[in-house]
């Protein structure tokens, strides 16, 4: 690898594993020696069937799920899922519980509201500016599902244990921590994932939906907005985002074959997060913004003593090859996103820069 590359702490689109980028580069002009670019092959070809079927099979193996789950590759991001979920699963007479842990949960709730669906906000951490994951809930046992956002990129919080909802299936937006660790999929009726944070590039949204959920869908939905359309056609009712799916396939291959699965991935992710949080906890200069028991393994949010110092920190970090450290525009401060593709080495470089910066500026 001779190219000069930055340590990329972007929140999404975010860093991809370098071996994946190299394989993409090799296939941009001539995909697997078919003498066409991956961008030029038909989605109805055997070549592309192999890509999408391999991506589905790897997803099932990595998550340990069987054929009662359908793995879909859709468009429109998690934001379109916010609308499709109530449209598909909250027909007349049904109700759902939503837990509000930040910007993305709030948006998911808003789309149920726009459609005038019955739902209840079963818990919220809005009272303390979403700095924590709620611990107490009172779920409606008649709810069709409970909706959560598993990780909050903006506030740097993450569900450590998922809530016990009894027989009611969870639906989770896992855009920012999908495949960062093994999970017990049997709790989930559906998960959905904008790929551009932890599993691929912008432009594809993975949906993993359990078979029994499909029975809830009312007839009469627009074809593209009915999950059954995509289940029946293996995500190829219309032309899918082929290049984005191919990139996801390569990331899944890297997760299985190079990293060694989600158990190994979790060990690496925990190590990175522990190193970085330890650097805060030893210092009075940097302060984490999330409650200790709600800290995210993926997005580490922190403040410096002043906004002026934060700006200086972000600028000098960038000059030192550490990019993407600015907090979300809605909250300010600093944020290091340390998704699966971020190496321990890059986190160590960040910590060492943080120490230097503190010494120069405290």
């Amino acid at each position: 690898m001779e190219v000069n590359r930055i340590c990329n702490f972007n929140a999404g689109p975010a860093a991809l594993p370098e071996p994946v980028l190299q394989e993409l580069q090799e296939n941009v002009l001539n995909f697997q020696n078919c003498c066409m670019s991956i961008l030029e092959i038909s989605h109805r070809s055997n070549d592309f069937d192999n890509v999408i079927n391999d991506a589905v099979a790897r997803t099932k193996r990595l998550l340990g799920i069987g054929d009662n789950y359908h793995v879909l590759f859709l468009q429109g991001g998690a934001s379109l899922q916010f609308a499709m979920i109530p449209m598909n699963f909250l027909a007349e007479g049904r109700t759902a519980d939503y837990i509000n842990t930040g910007t993305w949960s709030t948006k998911a709730i808003k789309e149920a509201q726009i459609q005038k669906k019955n739902f209840n906000v079963a818990a919220s951490s809005e009272d303390r500016n979403f700095a924590y994951i709620p611990k107490e809930f009172s779920f409606n046992p008649d709810a069709t599902f409970v909706h959560i956002t598993s990780n909050n990129t903006i506030k740097g919080t993450q569900w450590d244990q998922f809530p016990d909802t009894g027989d009611v299936p969870l639906i989770a937006d896992m855009s920012s921590d999908f495949m960062c660790r093994p999970i017990d999929m049997s709790k989930f009726g559906m998960i959905y994932v904008g790929a551009q944070k932890n599993i691929g590039p912008a432009g594809v949204c993975m949906v993993i939906v359990r078979d029994d959920m499909l029975k809830l869908i009312p007839d009469g939905l627009p074809t593209m907005l009915d999950y059954r359309t995509h289940v029946e056609k293996n995500s190829m009712y219309n032309t899918p985002p082929c290049f984005a799916i191919y990139t996801v396939q390569l990331v899944l291959k890297w997760l299985e074959e190079t990293v060694g699965g989600l158990g190994e991935m979790e060990k690496i992710n925990r190590k990175k997060a522990e190193l970085l949080y330890a650097a805060f906890d030893e210092s009075d200069f940097y302060k984490g913004t999330a409650d200790l028991d709600s800290r995210s393994m993926m997005n580490v949010t922190f403040r410096l003593p002043s906004e002026e110092l934060e700006k200086k920190f972000i600028d000098q970090a960038a000059q030192n090859g550490l990019g993407g450290l600015k907090g979300h525009r809605s909250v300010g401060g600093c944020r290091a996103s340390i998704y699966n593709a971020t190496t321990v080495e890059n986190v160590e470089k960040l910590i060492s820069f943080m120490k230097e910066f503190e010494n120069r500026n405290k």
Copy 2:
């Protein structure tokens, strides 16, 4: 260019200009020397702002449109547009005329039907299996829009002149002939384009909508399905398909700077189509399937004397480096898609193979 590349006559995803693929390849690891891949940069960065704003500006220049048109980059392909059009423009009390010229028009009509909207099929060529573009219509002067499919990839037909709809705006699915020639945009309230045929890769749908159309949109639509959301946020309400938009930008740059605009593009496209159709018209062996006055410049559909010969033709062509010549699975036969990126030289290679094949097999 040392890579061995096929002559690609795929219907979509389809051939892209080679200089575009080379530029993509160079930027997969290090985008414009920012030390990150184009897949890894934030959509909120200046780097990506420059990409999307340049793509919008080039689109406006190439089409000769002003700021009363909005250029959007959406997801879900033309198929999602089939549903969004009636949702946005056919509120209670409104009606529309649709012209049915094949599979894609039929699908657009079906989505208006699913939503129980008022509409009328003002003309159809279904009586002769969609082999022609209708010439006679009776439009409803109170219609909110008239919907057409400008080019039919499956049947190989194309509107030469667009119908005169008076003050009623046209809405056109131009997925398969967008920017193949200059058009008079003042007739159009909206056009939409799945990029993967003539303007880019799969995974992005361009929508060009006139300002006055936005006033028709009722409140209460799901956020992602309301065109105003995307107009207000310059296609970045949520993370857009960055790589696909970047590829479109490069294709637009190629159209402007290398080809020299849509007038020049049309000359090249007419030449390719004339050469290929002339090869049929001189032969009793190959027969075009579309009526003479409705022939497409983009998708040339033809039959051989038997299905057996068609299979042999497609196989031997592939062995000779001519790919993608199989007709759509719903109609069989042969099809050469000769979009903007297909060179005259590649069409000449196809014609010369056709002549050889005829001599060997007639």
